[in-house]
């Protein structure tokens, strides 16, 4: 039995043991305090693994090909960033690299670092700082914005050149969903509890 403050109205509640898929609500403002996730660890791990596979595909396969008559240009996710870098748009290149490549990877690796030991009931060092870091970088993962940008450019450029979406685009699109599923499966409450209890 422990307490949780409502993040809307700051009323402190005692939390009773929760069955799976149950939702704890604030008695005063009816805000959702947290949801008890069923099978949280398994689901998070499963989505994270799927996400990693998709991530590898998205990074290593050609992303977009643009064809205009004899001009044929093919870029991957990383080569695109490299091109931006070479063209001197270094802040943008850095931003894209961080939000779309590095932070999703950190998120997934962080999840693995937390959840694999949880699943196996072993203890690892720095689990809590890692989970804290994971929480911190979460808002900086902006793959969906990148995807949106790509969709806009496909529509805009479609008149000027033929755009051939590569395998990586599909993988990237799926990765957005899969990563979100993985994040949604994370029962932070439970994780904190377990980490605290463990240490």
């Amino acid at each position: 039995m422990h307490r949780i403050a409502c993040h809307e109205c700051d009323l402190v509640h005692d939390i009773p043991p929760m069955p799976a898929r149950a939702t704890a609500r604030c008695v005063r403002c009816n805000a959702v305090l947290f949801r008890a996730q069923a099978n949280s660890i398994d689901r998070t791990l499963a989505w994270t693994f799927a996400g990693l596979v998709l991530y590898v595909v998205a990074v290593s396969f050609p992303f977009l090909a643009m064809k205009n008559g004899p001009i044929f240009n093919e870029t991957g996710l990383l080569t695109g960033i490299q091109l931006l870098f070479e063209q001197g748009i270094i802040p943008l290149a850095t931003l894209v690299f961080l939000t779309c490549v590095l932070i999703p990877l950190i998120q997934m690796l962080g999840l693995l670092y937390i959840f694999v030991p949880l699943k196996l009931n072993v203890r690892v060092q720095y689990a809590m700082p890692v989970f804290r870091l994971f929480k911190h970088v979460k808002p900086w993962s902006m793959m969906e914005i990148y995807m949106l940008g790509i969709l806009v450019s496909i529509v805009k450029l479609g008149k000027m050149a033929t755009i051939i979406p590569g395998l990586a685009v599909i993988a990237f699109g799926l990765l957005i969903f899969v990563l979100n599923f993985a994040l949604a499966s994370v029962d932070s409450h439970m994780v904190w509890e377990r980490l605290e209890g463990g240490s």
Binding site: P16, P17, N39, D42, R43, A46, W47, T48, F49, A50, G51, V53, L54, V56, V57, F61, G69, P70, I71, F72, N73, L167, V178
Partner: protein, 557 residues
């Protein structure tokens, strides 16, 4: 909370049931498995689709870009450049390329690679598309040859790619001249092919030019076709005016090759692939006959052979039967003498008509057979001996008075001294007679000899004596003239003075102021008056003859 309390109450009353947690496999793990399967399959596909990696060496990587430059055959992409590096000694570049998997069977040592760049040259503009898309690597795939992964790229675009209908031929020429890759091949003014390559032959003696004649014209290349260099302008001037003859304007600028049969040649079999032809320098020379039977003779000349060059004709009665092969200078250490051995070749096939020993008249192909037969065996030597015995001799003659070119004339000289039949270095010696010029020189020498016999010394002495006498005579003449000067001329002078006086007297008598002159003028005027009055009288009498009797009418009135 209330629910939990009631449950707890129940539990107090009844034994707790065994809770069996189902540790079954969570369905959620299907997701990463599917993802892994798809990812694995994609990777596997990508791996298997990855074609063979080849390397091509080029002199320069101009226009090539790793990851961008394609390898194309008939404009279909069959590969992609993945990396460009310098080779070890930095003399060229090594281009690594990934080919598509179905290109595997074509990667043999006969397969050619070259870089296609935009080319703008006279008569040809190509690869303009590469200006926008960048250069690409062209490939001429062939399954022939041994499989390899390392290629040497061509620096020039080969012009014929495998599979084009047509046929390759080889032209042998002394020099390439104005021909180049892509130079057109003309058949009766129609462009039917092009030069696709050139190289030295093994001894580097001549140039072998590879040409490709497109279908369906390749069958027009017969075994007896003649190829000639059609570059430039052929200008002929005759009674009808100036005639310009050229295959096309492009061939003037770029050079070109034309072929055809000679006018009276029957068409032979279509030539096989890579049949070698001789490339004639121009159309006229392509028309000349070629002769297979060649007989070599050596002639020794004592006189100057200035103007006799290799290639000079050997003629019988003005008809060429062969040519001079070489003119050399020979020094005889024994006799301390120079001689000039001239090697000639006779082409007996040039004889048009032959009357055989049996009196048969043969012409054309039969004649050639007869000639060839004579070529073999001792028949030839016998014939040569007979001819030499009959006085068949060679003589140097002036062919062109302006340039001093000479030719060898063969003819019968029945009065020529007998010559032995001999051989030098395996060549039959053809006896010679001195040239007409030499004979003239001989005659002039004879004349000079006679002139020498004239006793110019004696003539001179006599002449001197005569001159002395003449001198004496001249002195006498001088004496006489002196006397004339001294004696006769003063007298003549005096006479002339007297004559002058006399003339002056006459002048005073007859001068304008003299009395005689005045009187004469007076008499003359009087006489004129008298004549005038007589004339008027006569006129009056003519009008009035009666006046003679009746007197003047006026008087009557």
């Amino acid at each position: 909370m209330s629910d939990g309390n009631s449950e707890m109450k129940h539990a107090e009353q009844a034994p707790e049931a065994v809770v069996q947690t189902k540790r079954s496999f969570s369905i959620i793990w299907v997701v990463p498995i599917i993802a892994l399967l798809i990812g694995g399959w994609l990777t596997f596909k990508a791996m298997t689709e990855k074609g063979p990696v080849i390397t091509i060496t080029f002199e320069t990587a101009e226009g090539l870009e790793a990851g961008k430059t394609k390898i194309k055959y008939k404009d279909v992409e069959v590969g992609k450049v993945t990396a460009i590096d310098l080779n070890e000694d930095r003399s060229g570049v090594v281009v690594s390329a990934e080919m598509s998997p179905d290109a595997k069977p074509y990667l043999t040592d006969k397969t050619q690679f070259w870089v296609v760049r935009a080319t703008v040259a006279a008569g040809k503009v190509s690869g303009l598309g590469t200006l926008l898309s960048g250069a690409y690597i062209g490939v001429n795939p062939t399954t022939e040859g041994e499989k390899t992964r390392h290629f040497k790229g061509l620096e020039k675009t080969p012009l014929v790619t495998e599979g084009m209908p047509g046929r390759h031929f080889v032209l042998q020429s002394r020099e390439l001249g104005s021909l180049d890759l892509g130079s057109p091949i003309y058949y009766r003014g129609i462009k039917v092919g092009q030069v696709v390559g050139y190289d030295f032959d093994e001894q580097a003696e001549s140039v072998l030019i590879k040409v490709f004649v497109n279908a369906p014209f390749h069958v027009k290349v017969r075994e007896n076709s003649r190829f000639w260099n059609a570059s430039g302008i052929d200008m002929t001037m005759d009674a009808t005016g100036i005639k310009l003859n050229t295959e096309s304007l492009i061939s003037i600028m770029l050079g070109g090759v034309a072929f055809d049969l000679r006018q009276h040649d029957p068409p032979g079999e279509p030539a096989e692939k890579n049949h070698t032809f001789r490339l004639y320098p121009d159309k006229d020379s392509s028309k000349e006959e070629t002769y297979d039977v060649k007989r070599y003779y050596v002639m020794f000349f004592d006189q100057s052979v200035r103007g006799l060059l290799p290639g000079a004709p050997v003629e019988i009665k003005g008809i060429p039967v062969g040519e001079v092969v070489s003119v050399k200078l020979q020094f005889d250490e024994q006799k301390l003498d120079f001689k000039i051995p001239v090697l000639i070749v006779l082409e007996p096939e040039r004889l048009d008509i032959v009357v055989t020993e049996s009196g048969e008249i043969v012409e054309g192909a039969e004649k050639n057979a007869e000639v060839r037969e004579t070529q073999e065996g001792s028949n030839l030597e016998l014939r040569a001996k007979q001819l030499i015995e009959k006085g068949f001799r060679a003589q140097l003659k002036q062919g062109n008075l302006l340039t001093g070119q000479m030719f060898v004339d063969l003819d019968f000289y029945s009065d020529a001294p007998k010559e032995a039949f001999e051989k030098v270095n395996g060549y039959t010696v053809f006896p010679t007679v001195p040239a007409p010029l030499e004979q003239i020189v001989q005659r002039v020498e004879n004349i000079l000899g006679k002139v020498e016999k004239i006793p110019f010394g004696k003539i001179g002495q006599e002449l001197q004596a005569t001159i002395t006498e003449l001198n004496a005579t001249l002195k006498e003449v001088k004496n006489i003239s002196g006397k004339v000067n001294e004696e006769t001329i003063p007298k003549v002078n005096a006479s002339l003075d007297q004559l002058q006086d006399t003339l002056r007297g006459i002048e005073s008598t007859l001068g304008p102021d003299s009395a005689l002159n005045y009187n004469t003028r007076q008499v003359t005027s009087e006489l004129a008056l008298a004549i005038r009055s007589i004339r008027s009288l006569l006129e009056y009498l003519e009008r009035d003859p009666q006046a003679l009797i009746l007197g003047k009418e006026g008087d009557k009135k």
